[in-house]
């Protein structure tokens, strides 16, 4: 079976500084793939470049089609969704409007059904549907950002640090929903600093350090790797780079 997303030999640079070097990855249908790594490793840059926010040298193919020269909006239309680290919500608009706009490209009747599904997935959003997005708590904003991306009916949802700054109970909830998405047929590419939680739910994993993948394989194997455990799962002092 061919991969849903396939990135080959990707390079991303900020001016002369290469933030991502020679990275290749694949995400299959109904898979959760995670990229773990320390802060500043280039994970967010890679995700943003796959989405078309930054230019990327190399090849990115989605559902068999080359994404080069396609705008962010075209990628969204193809079924690629991104929930960015800063969520990028429409803070002066209410929850319902944010969700409705997530389905901007979808038929109205379908969008209505999608909204009901999102409200079932995130009942808290239904309670807050008339509240302005900017007044929601961090966890609710994360749910809204995920809900907005899901309204566009993506085949692959890329999540950038969804657990950042959230209470453990909400993090657990969000990770539970990510696994539900996979069950519903949505593939997920998850970038996380919380490696432990990410590796627990992922099928495949990549470990990123200083712009490069230094390890990849089954998530369970990566989680069992001693060096990964030492660096990212908190079994050794933080920041150690032993890979």
């Amino acid at each position: 079976m061919s991969a849903l997303l396939s990135v080959t030999d990707a390079h991303v640079a900020y001016g002369k500084v290469e933030a991502v070097r020679s990275v290749s990855l694949e995400v299959g249908q109904n898979q959760i793939v995670t990229i773990v790594g320390a802060n500043g490793a280039g994970k967010t840059t890679l995700l943003s470049a796959i989405m078309g926010i930054f230019p990327l040298k190399g090849r990115v193919a989605f559902a068999g089609q080359d994404l080069a020269r396609l705008d962010i909006e075209d990628r969204v239309a193809m079924g690629l969704g991104l929930v960015p680290e800063h969520r990028e919500l429409f803070v002066t608009m209410n929850v319902e409007d944010n969700l409705e706009l997530g389905a901007f490209r979808i038929e109205r009747a379908k969008a209505k059904a999608s909204m009901e599904r999102i409200y079932t997935l995130f009942p808290r959003l239904k309670e807050r549907r008339k509240q302005l997005a900017g007044t929601l708590s961090g966890g609710e904003q994360q749910m809204l950002a995920m809900g907005r991306a899901l309204m566009g009916e993506p085949k692959l949802l890329m999540l950038d640090e969804p657990s950042l700054g959230l209470a453990p109970i909400i993090v657990a909830d969000i990770f539970r929903i990510v696994t539900e998405l996979r069950a519903g047929g949505v593939s997920v590419l998850l970038v996380e600093q919380n490696a432990q939680a990410a590796l627990k739910i992922a099928d495949q994993a990549y470990v990123m350090e200083l712009g490069e993948f230094v390890l990849s394989g089954k998530a369970s194997d990566i989680a069992a790797n001693e060096r990964v455990a030492a660096s990212y799962l908190g079994f050794q002092h933080e920041g150690a780079s032993v890979l």
Partner: protein, 346 residues
């Protein structure tokens, strides 16, 4: 000053202020969505007014030809951008909206101009012509720069303003023109006399503000425009094309400008360069509203209109100076109230 004069001045101020309000709202809208400070807003006013006046006097306005020329330019841009992957349907759509549409409008204008059309036809044609100019201008002058800094966009805006003003001189000549009243007749209420034209101004302004409020609050495209203004990246991630938002914003701004011109030209003689000063007063209101607040802009515009009316009574030579001086305390207060912001780097 007695109460009657004061009432006259307030009435006059509100009539002008209503037009500044519309222009100010258009400026805020365009800036919020595209980050363009729309200096050529004044030219939309002039073009609308003088196209209307030319048509009413049985002349073919040069703006109809300009719309076709800009449309061909816009089509050329679309072709250039799509050169590596030409999609027949997209090219056909671009050809129809950018070339066929202005060609049909030019033909209609040519046909109607020869027979001194009724006011309604003049208004409709003028609005369509200026709306097309606004739409194609965005495609030709601003869309290719959409990702540059506010300063670059401002420079482009000044360039477009100068070009349009020069073309205005070419199309309409140095002589001023007046157009027929949209609504004739008048009535008096106490000391005040209301003409059909001033009532038209109030009615259209209120209708437009309510219309915009409904458009932004209830329709998906209106919400998409607001979303683009609030968060461009967020909007793109939701699949909302910022170019589409830009086109809608420019379309609305040009229609508002043209409509304002059509409302003014029966009251005042307008010249090819009159729009600039009128647009600037809308700009003063927009700045008072911080280029973000619609209600504050509308209120500020009424205030600008009233200050202008009173200063033209007391010191008519200095009326523009007094109106533009309103900006200084506002900018001073804003600069003191707002924290220092780093210069934009993008």
């Amino acid at each position: 000053m007695n109460t009657t004069i004061m009432l006259f001045l307030v009435q006059d101020g509100i009539t002008n202020g209503a037009i500044y309000a519309l222009l100010g709202l258009a400026l805020v809208l365009v800036f919020a969505v595209t980050r363009v400070i729309l200096i050529p807003q004044g030219e939309f006013v002039t073009y609308g007014a003088l196209t209307y006046a030319s048509l009413a006097s049985g002349q073919l306005p040069g703006t109809a030809k300009l719309a076709l020329a800009l449309g061909i330019g816009a089509f050329a841009f679309d072709l250039f951008v799509a050169r590596k992957a030409l999609h027949g349907r997209l090219i056909l759509r671009s050809f129809l909206t950018n070339v066929v549409l202005p060609a049909i409008v030019l033909a209609l204008t040519f046909y109607f101009a020869a027979q001194k059309p009724p006011v309604a036809v003049c208004i409709a044609l003028s609005l369509v012509i200026v709306a097309m100019i606004g739409l194609y201008l965005y495609r030709v002058a601003f869309q290719p720069l959409a990702h540059t800094s506010v300063l670059v966009l401002l420079i482009a805006s000044v360039g477009v303003h100068l070009a349009l003003q020069g073309l205005g001189l070419l199309f309409f000549g140095a002589e001023g023109q007046r157009g027929p009243a949209v609504l004739s007749g008048s009535f008096t209420a106490g000391a005040l006399r209301f003409t059909g034209q001033s009532l038209t101004v109030y009615g259209i302004t209120i209708a437009f503000i309510v219309g915009l409020w409904l458009f932004f609050g209830l329709t998906l495209y209106g919400k998409a425009l607001r979303a683009t203004a609030v968060n461009r990246l967020g909007a793109r991630l939701a699949g909302i094309r910022t170019t589409l938002s830009g086109q809608i914003a420019f379309l609305l701004a040009s229609v508002i400008g043209a409509l304002s011109g059509i409302m003014i030209v029966p009251i005042t003689t307008l010249y090819y360069d009159s729009g600039f000063l009128i647009g600037l007063k809308g700009f003063v209101a927009a700045i008072i509203g911080g280029l973000v607040s619609y209600p504050l802009t509308a209120v500020a515009a009424l205030f600008v209109g009233i200050v202008e009316a009173f200063s033209s009574f007391y010191a008519s030579n200095y009326k523009e100076v007094i109106v533009f001086m309103l900006l200084i305390p506002v900018l001073l207060l804003r600069s003191l109230a707002a924290p220092a912001v780093e210069e934009e780097k993008d």
